[in-house]
Amino acid sequence: MQQFLNVTLTGLAQGAVYSAIALALVLIWRSTRIVNFAQGAMAMFTTYIALSLIEAGQSYWVGLLVALVSGLVLGALVERVVVRPVEGGPELNAVIVTLGLFVGFQALAAILFGSTFVSFPAPFDLRGFTVGGVNIAFTPNSIFVIAAVVVVMLALVALFRFTNLGLQMRASAFSQEVSRLLGVRVGAMLTLGWALAAVVGSLAGVLIAGGNLVSPNYMDAVVVFGFVAAVLGGLESPGGAVVGGLTIGLLLSYVSGYLGSELVALAALVILVAVLLVRPQGLFSHAAARRV
């Protein structure tokens, strides 16, 4: 029973991070019909930027802030420079471009920051709370991780629901032509969408790194889990991405806790394939069946 509780709590914290990555993928997919396979690599890169600052003596918070800002810039640059030319083209070309970014960023990070595992500090205590004399696998840092993701999500909801900018971004995502006819600068909105997605991705990168070892490929599995979560949520819906992320976090935590951590990625693959074959529109989508 105690193990079940611990596994569940761990899963929730990890699920929050997967939600963030899934959300980043969904933001980009909605507006440009591209799955950004480089999302994890970009997040890894900005996490390393944060780590360099922290190792140079800056505080964790400065590192986090700089990671988010560099994510913003990186996302915008990537969209403008390399993604824009393949937008609306054959889908294979866009896939290949994001894969090229994936391997390119990963190698660049290894060149600049080294390819060995290094530890990334956590801002809060990594020792679990004690409840009724029992130590549980829920730490102050887990609370921070979940809270950070929740705050970012609420901020995004507020942006999309209540601001004119958010309205224009949503309009651009749903119908580029009509938006242009209404004077919306669709190109700028797409760039902004990629930039925001990269910010959310960067946050996920820094959060999952906290208290762990990072290496240039530490996000490989995370981006796959995020993709699975996004597909589980229907790939279109930000809400679905969040629920999908938490679901994947819990399921994978159970697999890791009861079957073995080596099988986590395999379990993710099984879930992904099962979802794609049985319910391609995602578990939480109201949309009609669509082609996957």
Binding site: A171, R180, L182
Partner: protein, 246 residues
């Protein structure tokens, strides 16, 4: 952007456009005068929709000019043309169905307020189209065809346009609703307070279009075959039989 006292005419001069090797427009001249409805008529494939899409910047012209007053809008991006005061109401699915009715209108009003000369605000649209007011919080995909047409027209109006480009507003609508929409259009143009709107109305339903239009332009295979007053076109039996189908 300063607001001129009278709105400018939209002038299209020698406009040509093609889709790959297929020429869709071939040297078309059309003028939409303020305070008038100019109907663009012709059979399917005559180039009517392409004309509107080229004016609003969705299609790049291969030759010719699009002028709004003395401002050259030829080859400007669609968003710039929209900001200059040309509101294009596209055929059929111009509603963003994933947004609510209110959000669709807010999107139009954003452009209107950035132009600082909004003549119609969202509440006016609700007053004009009561069914929209009832469904303001609903997603636009729940609307009927007529309601969608009201929404796209209302959304175009809140942008505060000088020129309204309407593509087949009668398509798929019941005759009663078409009459209602056309009547409203006539009222808008005649209403001095609306600042002398120019309307370019593309219609396959030539008879109804001519009944509210001041001027008509007949297109065939991408060329203008006739330009005259609506009454004269309606009276020209040969032309009507050859190109207008009534």
């Amino acid at each position: 952007m300063s607001a001129p006292a009278t709105t400018a005419a939209l002038q299209v001069r020698g406009l040509s456009a093609s889709y790959g090797p297929v020429t869709a427009l071939d040297g078309v001249d059309v003028t939409a005068e303020p305070g008038r409805i100019t109907a663009v008529l012709g059979a399917n494939g005559a180039g009517k929709t392409t004309l509107l899409r080229t004016i609003s910047g969705l299609v790049r012209p291969t030759a010719g000019q699009v002028l709004l007053g003395d401002r050259d809008l030829t080859r400007a991006p669609a968003e710039t043309i929209a900001r200059a005061g040309v509101a294009h109401v596209p055929e059929g699915r111009g509603v963003i169905t994933e947004l609510t009715v209110e959000e669709n209108l807010r999107l139009g009003a954003l452009l209107g307020s950035s132009r600082k000369r909004t003549r119609h605000v969202i509440d006016d649209v609700y007053a004009m189209f009561p069914p929209l007011a009832e469904r303001r919080a609903r997603h636009a995909h729940t609307l009927s065809g007529g309601e969608r047409q009201m929404l796209v027209i209302g959304r175009a109006l809140v942008t505060g346009p000088d020129v309204l480009l309407l593509d087949e507003p009668s398509l798929g609508l019941a005759p009663r609703i078409v009459a209602q929409i056309f009547g409203l259009l006539r009222e808008l143009v005649d209403d001095a307070a609306s600042g002398r709107l120019s309307v370019l109305l593309v219609e396959q339903n030539a008879r109804s279009a001519l009944s509210i239009a001041d001027v008509g332009v007949v297109l065939n295979l991408g060329r203008v075959v006739a330009t005259d007053s609506a009454a004269a076109l309606a009276a020209d039996d040969g032309l009507r039989h050859a190109y207008l189908g009534f």
